[in-house]
Symmetry: C2
């Protein structure tokens, strides 16, 4: 049976009720606001339906009130924070209420001795680290260098691991209003090295050797020749780069340790035909070397012609298969005449492809779709996964079913049904209510 | 509604059916076998009920056949492997079938390039590392030094994290017949340091400082004066130890890195009134220093008088509260006249208390129960958890409800009900079918 949602009239009643309880400005039905919460320039997919209202709660209590009213009237609830998702994860296929956490952006408690911090959903990552820096601690997830990232919460073996079930459930099981993040000690020393290679295969082989040698690297990223060219063309990094496959390493630790590890990486790179090997001699140099990595997506956005869009997608495969999938995918894109760049978190076997295309041209859109579809199929054949970071949203539901099979999707469906029997939490994402 | 299980007659039919399908010896109803699968000398709790049969599957296909028959006749299924659990996690309160994985102990596939290994449930940890050592890789979980252990599986953001939901579900959601473990590189160098402190509080403060200084340690364990005395008394380590609070550090990395880190730990320890500081100058010395840590539980078992049992329990708290809870708990045990030792994985805020008692003496058993109960209450007041490692089993169901609250237990109940509607998977563990 398909879920039944509030009628237009019920939705209006709910909005009245919520405005009475939370204040007039707590619920917006402004057209531009609705559009911003249902459409995204970055998304691989967009739909015509928009949310009917946007709520702006200021506290967990207000979220709880919102949820009660939405439950009473059977209104879909779609949590919204940065709006950076790429697979229409916050779209509103059944209308309903977008819940925007803009006003819940506080660091609630820093427990420096216990090395954790309690935050609200919209605290910006950069600002979080700035706010807590006097403690000597930081939250080590850097959008980009996800390798080695650690988001383990308190050690416990008490009952089912609901934390990890909710993390990555894309708002389909519940709404997170507070989270405790484990922090790391700001290292004595960090440095960056940038290394060029003749081919992606050589770079991947070097990366694999670095991992197998147990050299501790804080991040290990790869960008292809096209991506390096895009950065040059966009001119956002104040220098010119060689337009060849390039690896970016981040090191952290003690001064002696970092020095030792840079040397180890240099030696390994040499045995894999590395070209230039630059490493930062100061924090400022480190920032400059890392800037190419930081600016990669924005550079791609910046060089678009009028009417172009960028389709950004990711898959992950066992690291031994990474060169294969990158080479085949690049060749297919070239053959289809598509302009696409590649960026990989190589330690994870995870890579991102950004494809430029004219969304008004159905032939070009079809070519991109085929390319993404083929890349996902290829990743699954290699025992990989259809997404390493972006999630499923609306865009990769079919891929997920292919990856996990009908039975496993049904397990997920049962879990959702058990926690959200009216299918109100971000419905239509990850999987449909019925097959 | 309470679950209804197979009658005796139905159980007999099921056994006949399974023997016909899997061979006579696949199902045992031998009394001694049933006892071994329903009772444990280590367990904090034992019950009179035993399983009705023990199955010995040899493959995933056989497990699947077992599960089908058990499902048809509504027979509880209780997975059993090492038998080391402490909270009656494998007991059989509703009878049913113990599924013993003795014959599924193989390393199925080593993917050295991808740094993972696929294993069956009963592969012994020591043997696993021995079988794969030529690859230069190892599985870094060491029963004991759990700090820093890493059991992340393949990176993916594809749908609900069912892996982490099943890990730690104690067999109540399904049966794991194969698992992929992430491996680490065998470090160039490992070493051990043993440091004495005047009090647990000084030791904990030093440990906290080591963490906050970002010194990488592979393990950091604490044992109290009683535990050190027990090891001396049992004589299992070929040397005498000072009977004072003692910390055990394990280091791994490059030669230079390990040397540097030992020095850092020594310096920090000194500022916290450390006494002796011994560190291993060879692998053999390292083994000897670590032996005290390795032999701690067995030493406690070894010095029991006739009729004594050892109640071993664990909790975890934020690390800043660790000295408080250890001090209060030790005092309460002393006041109750109990002989108990303490061992902690200090980086986790996780510690174990082993209490010796005469189980035939109801007064002494009651004193132990009070002591454990109070320690769990204290951990919860400190925002800790009722168990860091041992799990819930039968023994800690009330504590779990206290820790998480009725609503969260009901969420877990719903998840179990969705995946196991007849409540056949290890029923009675973690939570009851109804409140």
């Amino acid at each position: 049976m398909s879920p039944q949602y509030a009628t237009k009239r019920e939705m209006e009643k709910a909005i009245d009720e919520l405005r009475a309880a939370l204040g007039e400005e707590a619920i917006s039905t402004d057209d531009e606001d609705l559009h911003r919460h249902g459409y995204s320039e970055w998304s691989s997919i967009n739909i015509d339906q928009l949310p009917v209202a946007v709520a702006y709660p200021k506290s967990t209590e207000e979220v709880s009130q919102l949820a009660k009213v939405c439950h009473k009237f059977k209104i879909p609830m779609i949590p919204y924070s940065g709006g950076s998702s790429l697979e229409a994860n916050f779209s509103a296929p059944f209308g309903g209420m977008s819940i925007d956490f803009t006003f819940m952006d506080q660091v609630l408690a820093l427990h420096a001795d216990d090395m954790d911090v309690v935050v609200q959903p919209s605290v910006p990552w950069m600002s979080l680290n700035d706010q807590i820096k006097d403690s000597g601690l930081f939250f080590p997830v850097d959008p980009g260098p996800s390798w080695n990232k650690c988001c383990s919460l308190w050690k416990s073996s008490a009952g089912y691991n609901l934390t990890n079930l909710f993390v990555g459930s894309e708002g389909t099981l519940g709404i997170v209003t507070e989270i405790t993040l484990k922090l790391a000690v700001i290292p004595q020393e960090t440095s960056v090295a940038v290394v060029t290679f003749p081919t992606i295969r050589d770079a991947a082989a070097a990366a694999s050797k670095v991992l197998r040698a147990g050299v501790p690297v804080a991040a290990m990223e790869i960008m292809d020749d096209v991506q390096m060219g895009v950065i040059n063309k966009a001119g956002s990094t104040h220098r010119k780069w060689k337009e060849v496959p390039t690896m970016f390493f981040k090191f952290s630790g003690t001064k002696a340790g970092v020095r030792e590890n840079i040397q180890l990486v240099r030696d390994i790179s040499k045995t894999h035909k590395s070209g230039d090997f630059e490493f930062a001699k100061s924090a400022e140099e480190g920032k400059q070397l890392w800037s190419a990595r930081k600016e990669s997506l924005w550079s791609m956005m910046a060089i678009r012609r009028e009417g172009d869009e960028v389709w950004s997608t990711d898959v992950a495969v066992p690291i031994s298969r990474l060169p294969d999938i990158i080479e085949i995918s690049k060749k297919e894109m070239d053959d289809l005449g598509l302009f696409a760049s590649i960026l990989g978190h190589i330690g994870d076997g995870n890579f991102h492809e950004s494809i430029m295309y004219n969304s008004k041209d159905p032939k070009e859109r079809a070519a991109v779709e085929k390319c993404v579809h083929d890349m996902v199929e290829r990743a699954l054949e290699m025992e990989g996964t259809c997404t390493g970071e972006h999630g499923i949203g609306l865009g990769k539901k079919a891929s997920l079913q292919k990856e996990l099979g009908f039975d496993t999707i049904n397990v997920m469906r049962s879990i959702k049904g058990a926690l959200d029997p009216h299918w109100l939490m971000n419905p239509g994402k990850i999987m449909d209510a019925k097959a």
